[in-house]
């Protein structure tokens, strides 16, 4: 099927005037020709037959996120294998005396809720739990993963798995790295340390390790967090302000005379935590805006700080000091570092060999993928996901991340996260079983194949695929894993000999459309500009521009592409050679704040295009004949203007010398 976009692409973007009629008609005729040419170059996708039918969900990690994901999937009727590396379910939440309230009236700490979830899981026939267990190998692909699970003092079992949720959680930042804040000294604890003391007190007065009842306590917020020097964590862990409020309440609820002071620079109380904060103030917990410079522990702890409201230095005495340290995600080894160590180890470096072993010991999934054992990371060790559209997504198909492994969060958020991830995982299993793609091209039956006779084994496709879908076979040819593929076409754009194609999307289907456009001669004063627009954001933005009747230049011809990453440079050189006067590329933002739906696609595509300028020079063409535009789906009003500006620029440059050759 092909679409000639006559309404949003032609009629609605052109004025209904006699003067415009001729060019509008040409535009419409071109689009009809293009659609016909595309259809001729396509075949109907037969669908991937290399599918698996497992509908069992593997959840790695038995904390709040993991337990929630398992229960939600089970409630929907799916079987779940839940593995936990310790001897009991509950994770970090189980170590908490109480949790931040998640319901009205948000005034007092609540039961941590772990026992209830564990009981539900125990009673759930759909959920199989492995304790003291870890994943030693994950082979296969979505719908047919083969996961080897090693259980302490037991045999290794293999489970057939459809999709995976990684809920491996976090560890607290190591206090010992904060000696200036008293980390490691007596009576200076982190928030988890305080939970242990509170558990021991069981609602009574909280005592320190030396048995003394605590009469005064100081909380130091952002300890080793939001660190501009980058020596410690650069980010905010989000939960710790609320957690300190909760912990200060432990003291006040047991004995209102305990002096509790919270030292903060910004108190961050998202959502209903604002009510919780107010309740804490009502209970007499003192909040002071100040920067702590030094903490000394011991029998009588001292906290030196500068009060930012009074602009004055103070020293507070306390029986106990609590450091609000941050969350460090348990994502597994960084794939780039691991790759580097691996290369050095292969070169015979002994140190690197030891490093590889050490890094591999931290692996969570032990994926048997050419691209490494775990999900790729983005910033600060959290896994990479499309943070706007597909937050639970990882860059490995049918593997989803939930909870603090994805970004810092509290229990309430982790619960929501786990529910969302379970839903996505179920979708992915179902689609994999039917040989269909997962989002963003959910339901797509096409998949890439390579004409191996032409393949030069350059490895570009295997390296560039953002989702690690391509392995290598024994003869060192690319081996596509259809179920791991998202159908972005990045491999197709990357291939220098153009042997990769989809049945309904290929170098030919786009090439045929480019050729189908009628190019008027040099003297017609009717230039032609080819626009290759990403189908995820740029093309819908153009459609919406049409719906808003935002007019634009009649000389452009737009072809949607799956991703900027799928753009093969041959399309551009062919277009320019055949007399187009300019080519515009429209793709999502890339880099740190990327919005590319295929994560790396637009970045890789742009990198590839940056190489094309040499070719332009060789053809004696101006650099401006190629224009790369970052487009967001909201650019409905600005996009037409940018198109018109470019069209103007083309007129300034004059017609392409390649017309009619």
């Amino acid at each position: 099927m092909s679409r000639g976009n006559l309404r949003e692409g032609v009629i609605w973007i052109r004025p209904d005037t006699d003067a415009a009629r001729e060019t509008t008609q040409e535009m419409a005729e071109d689009y009809v020709r293009m659609a016909c040419a595309e259809v001729k170059a396509m075949t109907v996708p037969a669908g991937n037959t290399n599918t698996g039918t497992s509908k069992t969900l593997l959840v790695v990690g038995g904390g709040m996120s993991g337990m929630t994901a398992a229960l939600e999937a089970s409630k929907t009727g799916y079987k779940v294998v839940l593995i936990e590396k310790t001897g009991a379910l509950g994770g970090m939440a189980a170590k908490l005396w109480k949790r931040i309230p998640n319901r009205e009236p948000f005034k007092a700490p609540m039961d941590n809720g772990v026992a209830e979830l564990v009981a539900q899981i125990d009673a759930d026939a759909n959920i199989k739990v492995y304790l003291n267990a870890s994943v030693v190998k994950t082979a296969g692909a979505p719908g047919r993963f083969q996961v080897d699970i090693a259980v302490e003092s037991g045999p290794t079992v293999t489970e057939d798995i459809g999709a995976i949720i990684q809920a491996s959680g976090f560890t607290p930042y190591d206090m010992a790295k904060l000696p200036h804040l008293g980390g490691g000294q007596a009576n200076v604890v982190d928030q988890l340390g305080l939970e242990t003391l509170a558990k021991a007190a069981n609602g009574g007065p909280i005592k320190r390790a030396d048995g003394k009842e605590v009469n005064s306590v100081v909380f130091v917020q952002c300890a080793g967090q939001r660190d501009a020097t980058k020596e410690h964590l650069e980010y905010c862990s989000g939960h710790c302000c609320g957690t300190s409020v909760k912990q200060a309440m432990y003291f006040k609820d047991a004995n209102p005379d305990v002096e509790t002071v919270v030292l903060f620079t910004d108190l961050r109380m998202p959502g209903n935590n604002e009510d919780f904060y107010r309740a804490a103030q009502n209970k007499g917990i003192v909040f002071r805006k100040g920067v702590v410079s030094n903490v000394t522990g011991g029998g009588e702890c001292k906290v030196k700080f500068k009060d930012l409201i009074l602009n004055e230095d103070f020293t507070a005495d306390a029986d106990l000091v609590v450091l609000a340290t941050g969350m460090v995600p348990t994502t597994g080894p960084d794939l780039d570092q691991l790759g580097e160590a691996n290369r050095a180890a292969e070169g015979g470096n002994e140190e690197a060999k030891a490093q590889v072993v050490q890094m591999m010991s931290k692996s969570v999934l032990n994926l048997d993928y050419r691209q490494g054992p775990d999900v790729p990371q983005f910033k600060h060790g959290f896994n990479d996901s499309h943070f706007i559209c597909f937050p639970y997504e990882t860059r490995r198909t049918a593997i989803y991340a939930a909870g603090p492994v994805r970004r810092p969060m509290d229990i309430a958020q982790a619960t929501e996260d786990a529910t969302g991830a379970a839903m996505k995982a179920i979708q992915a299993m179902e689609n994999a079983g039917l040989g269909k793609a997962a989002h963003p091209r959910a339901g797509d039956l096409s998949f890439p194949t390579a004409r191996l006779e032409g393949c030069t084994q350059c490895k570009r496709c295997t390296v560039e695929c953002p989702f690690g879908a391509i392995d290598e076979d024994e003869r060192r040819f690319p081996l596509f894993n259809e179920s791991r593929c998202r159908r972005c076409g990045t491999c197709m754009g990357a291939c220098p000999v153009r042997v990769i194609s989809f049945e309904n999307y290929s170098v030919n289907t786009v090439g045929a459309q480019i050729k189908a456009v009628d190019i008027p001669d040099e003297f017609s004063e009717k230039p032609r500009v080819l626009i290759l627009a990403c189908e995820n954001d740029a093309y819908p933005a153009l459609d919406m521009a049409g719906m808003n009747r935002n007019e634009y230049d009649p000389y452009v011809r737009v072809i949607p592409v799956r991703c900027l990453g799928s753009v093969n440079t041959i399309w551009i050189t062919d277009a320019l050679n055949s007399g187009y006067d300019g080519v515009m590329l429209m793709g999502c933002k890339h880099g740190e704040q990327y919005q590319c739906h295929f994560v790396k696609g637009s970045e890789l595509g742009r990198y590839r295009m940056s190489k094309i300028y040499d070719t332009l020079k060789g053809m004696n063409l101006e650099e401006d004949r190629l224009m790369d535009l970052e487009v967001a789906i909201t650019d409905i009003d600005t996009l037409p203007k940018k198109i018109n500006d470019y069209a103007k620029r083309i007129v300034e440059m004059g017609m392409s010398p390649f017309k009619g050759l």
Partner: protein, 210 residues
């Protein structure tokens, strides 16, 4: 040091926040301030009279236990009861009332700044009004005008002459009030008894010697 000041210092030791919570009107709201600074930014007097400490800062000082600095401050005496801060405070802290509560408490402790003009007005007004149960405008004005001596008083009276004459004409000011007791309410004794009772109840509520 006044008796009451000694008594309170002994009772609250270093816990000034608690002292304010229990002793100053509406002082129990101080802890609810979240230090956003909206009050300080809203106060119209702040910029003109160069306050030492805007409300937000006063509240922080209370929490930081800076007893003398707070009580001896002139800041709360500068509040003109415009209620800007009160209506804007996101925490609904009754700031205006606390300002007056702090001022009043500082005065009772004998720690309020001496010769502070608004304090002088308040005291004069209170004495004037409670004496007969009615405000004697002539005497009130006299006391205020002549507080800095005869010459200054005459100068001020001359400057306000036309206003005064207008008031007399409109029967808003009776020059005869200057002599004798002036007008009064019917039951002066009753008023005094009522004020004494109020004082007693307040002392009881705040645990002070009456």
């Amino acid at each position: 040091m006044s008796d009451m000041n000694q008594q309170m210092t002994a009772r609250y030791k270093n816990n000034f926040l608690k002292e304010i919570e229990e002793q100053a009107e509406m002082g129990d709201w101080v802890k609810m301030c979240m230090q956003c600074g909206v009050c300080s930014g809203s106060c119209p007097t702040n910029f003109h009279s160069a306050w030492d400490h805007p409300p937000q800062e006063l509240f922080m000082m209370i929490r930081a236990g800076k007893r003398d600095e707070v009580l001896e401050s002139g800041s709360m005496w500068n509040c003109v009861s415009c209620y800007n801060c009160y209506v804007r405070c996101p925490r609904k802290v009754p700031i205006t009332h606390i300002m007056h509560g702090l001022a009043e408490y500082a005065y009772r402790l004998g720690k309020a700044p001496k010769q502070q003009p608004t304090q002088f007005l308040s005291k004069t007004f209170w004495d004037n009004a409670t004496k007969t149960g009615r405000v004697n405008e002539v005497k009130l004005t006299q006391t205020l005008y002549f507080k800095n001596g005869l010459m200054d008083g005459i100068k001020q009276a001359m400057a306000m002459q036309s206003v005064a004459l207008g008031l007399v004409k409109a029967k808003r000011l009776n020059p005869m009030e200057a002599v004798g007791g002036g007008h009064k309410c019917k039951d002066i004794k009753g008023i005094h008894a009522m004020l004494a009772k109020a004082r007693e109840l307040e002392a009881q509520r705040k645990g002070r010697a009456a």
